[in-house]
Amino acid sequence: MKNKKSLMSSIMAAPHIFWAVLFIVLPLIIVVFYAFTDANGNFSFSNIASLGDYAPIFGLSLELAVIATAICLLIGYPLAYIISKASPKSQKFFMMLLMLPMWTNLLIRTYSIMAILDDGGFLNSIFGAVFNVDEPLFHIVGTKGAVIFGMVYDFLPYMVLPIYTCISKIDKHMWEAASDLGCTPIQTLIKVILPLSMSGIISGVTMVLVPSISTFYISQKLGGGTFEVIGDTIERQFVTGALNVGAAISLIMMILILISITVMNKFSDEDGGIIV
């Protein structure tokens, strides 16, 4: 059947293919081209070779992203589990609550968090007024904690959604069968539900880890300029016109993410392949 593609289906697919080539394939080629050339357009490995200088920034980015992802998982799994066990009406309501912040632009949300947590921000003003002190009580913005908080706040829905979808798709008889065969509710969760929702966990981890590792806006605003993550570095390269180094870092990031997704897919069950 496959080789019997009709003319019609080719025509229908054409806009998509055109779009994909123009905005996905072509940019990728440009990135690769810049990564392997110098400022004059000559072939060069110097960009790639210079990447060693950015290893500490890579490390810091990874550290923050992994911590944020872990926190998202710790909050997101129980949340998804509880929502999936609620009545259909409550489920809709909880999902709406979860999605509501996503209607606001990510940059605006991050900026608002900064306005709340800043030394002269909402939180400090309130507590300052209550306890009658002029000095800011909490110094939050500019710490790693603030950046991680921002990541968790911004990306939590991406963790909850796939896990929720996965748990609600589990046949309700699985719970009954587990209980019937001697599992307490906790054992049911660990022995049956957790393994069966593994594909959701892996999707969720991927969907939080990838944007966390490459974010630059959250770290700029909530990091208060005190430290730099890889997203900031890439942005700086492009802003200052060092296109080749920026392209090289981006390329390496892309390869690293691809590798980690492939590895994670290995742990997922056969039918639950992930597309990010």
Binding site: D171, H173, M174, E176, A177, A178, S179, D180, L181, G182, C183, T184, Q187, K191, V192, P195, L196, M198, D269
Partner: protein, 372 residues
């Protein structure tokens, strides 16, 4: 045999709709008992209450003399074979069967032996490492039975376990289940809407309708001595005619007075009379107790199914002799072929074949396959 499970006044409603109305039932140790009834009669709910997946609104459930009404499923000595098997897709055949033993922290060598015994019993040796999703429906069913039996429960609950299998496999599995039940000697509580399945497998049949038990008895009792029009109609084919009990062993229906073998009714009490289609003999018109005109004849293999119009009431008769449509025939009924029942709320609703068609039967079977 001692009472193992006892239900006392079990009542259950969903959203104000009563699905079980004060059910009283006891189940003896070691018997094969079947809850039989049409879709929505409450049979599955009864099973789920015994399994612990539902709790009754009212009434008590006793197990071996102790009340277990509020005991969670994992503490009950009862295991279930679910309608759609509910095997764990992340575990292979061996691990699925070993699952309840692992929960009980049984030593690995014992697990190996017991799982091996179970695999042998359900004829699945060599399937240990297969993924359950690659098995056929019949094989999955066997794994589910092995998994439910491996921890030696006192009772096995089976919720329409053969519903998803094709006819041939179904017959084989019926025999196999009966053999397994006899071999291990534990109580089986079986839920089905298939009356033939119920009659051929059970020691005791519980006929349910509208959230109430209609009759409890052995398969032969249920078939030969149905208590009311519902049971008579649901189990096998029945002609159910309005009659009047003139005195003991004399009943009048269809304009003729018959000798029968039943008694104990009031004089001239209105009753329902059941005559099974296979118990009616076709005779020459002058020898017949009743006479009527054949309206349709259908060949069914072993016999012909003949619909006869007798004074406006359509009878079904099964005969190995061919009768031509539109012929006028005589009918002869032996006294012991006539079964008398008291009037019930089901009187007049069943037992007339004027609107009879095989298709209607098929339709009502199909929608009862999915019941909760």
């Amino acid at each position: 045999m001692a009472k193992l499970i006892e239900l006392k006044g079990i009542t259950k409603s969903y959203d104000g709709e009563c699905v079980l109305n004060s059910i009283d039932l006891y189940i003896r140790d070691g018997e094969f008992i079947t809850l039989l009834g049409p879709s929505g009669c409450g049979k599955t709910t009864t099973l789920r209450i015994i399994g612990g997946f539902e709790t009754a609104d009212e009434g008590q459930l006793y197990f071996d003399g102790a009340e277990i009404s509020d005991m969670p499923p994992y503490k009950r000595q009862v295991n279930t074979v679910f309608q759609k098997y509910a095997l764990f897709p992340h575990l292979n055949v061996y691990e699925n069967i070993a699952f309840p033993l692992r929960m009980k922290k049984i030593p690995e060598e014992d697990i190996k032996k017991r799982v091996g015994d179970m695999l042998k019993m359900v004829a699945l040796l060599g399937f240990e490492n297969k993924s359950v999703s690659t098995l056929s429906g019949g094989q999955q069913q066997r794994v589910a039975i092995a998994r439910a039996l491996v921890s030696h429960p006192k009772v096995l609950l089976l919720d329409e376990p053969l519903g998803a299998l094709d006819l041939k496999l179904r017959k084989d599995m019926q025999n196999e289940l009966k053999t397994i039940q006899k071999a291990i000697g534990i109580t089986f509580v079986y839920v089905t809407h298939d009356q033939e399945e119920a009659l051929s497998m059970s020691d005791t049949v519980v006929v349910m309708a509208d959230g109430e038990i209609q009759q409890i008895g052995t398969p032969t009792d249920i078939y030969n001595e149905p208590k009311n029009a519902f049971v008579a109609d649901f189990i096998g084919e029945s002609n159910i005619i309005d009659g009047i009990m003139l005195q003991d062993k004399k009943v009048r229906f269809a304009g003729h007075t018959f000798d029968c073998v039943d008694g104990g009714f009031e004089k001239n009490e209105a009753v329902d009379v059941v005559v099974r289609p296979e118990d009616v003999d076709v005779v020459d018109i002058e020898k017949g107790m009743l006479t009527g005109q054949v309206t349709s004849v259908t060949f069914k293999g072993v016999h012909y199914e003949i619909i006869v119009d007798i004074k406006g009431f359509k009878w079904m008769i099964q005969s190995t002799d061919y009768v031509a449509p539109d012929a006028n025939i005589g009918l002869y009924i032996e006294p012991d072929a006539i079964h008398i029942m008291k009037k019930s709320k089901y009187s007049g609703k069943f037992g007339d074949y004027s609107s009879f068609s095989d298709e209607i039967d098929l339709l009502s079977d199909a929608d009862s396959a999915e019941e909760f």
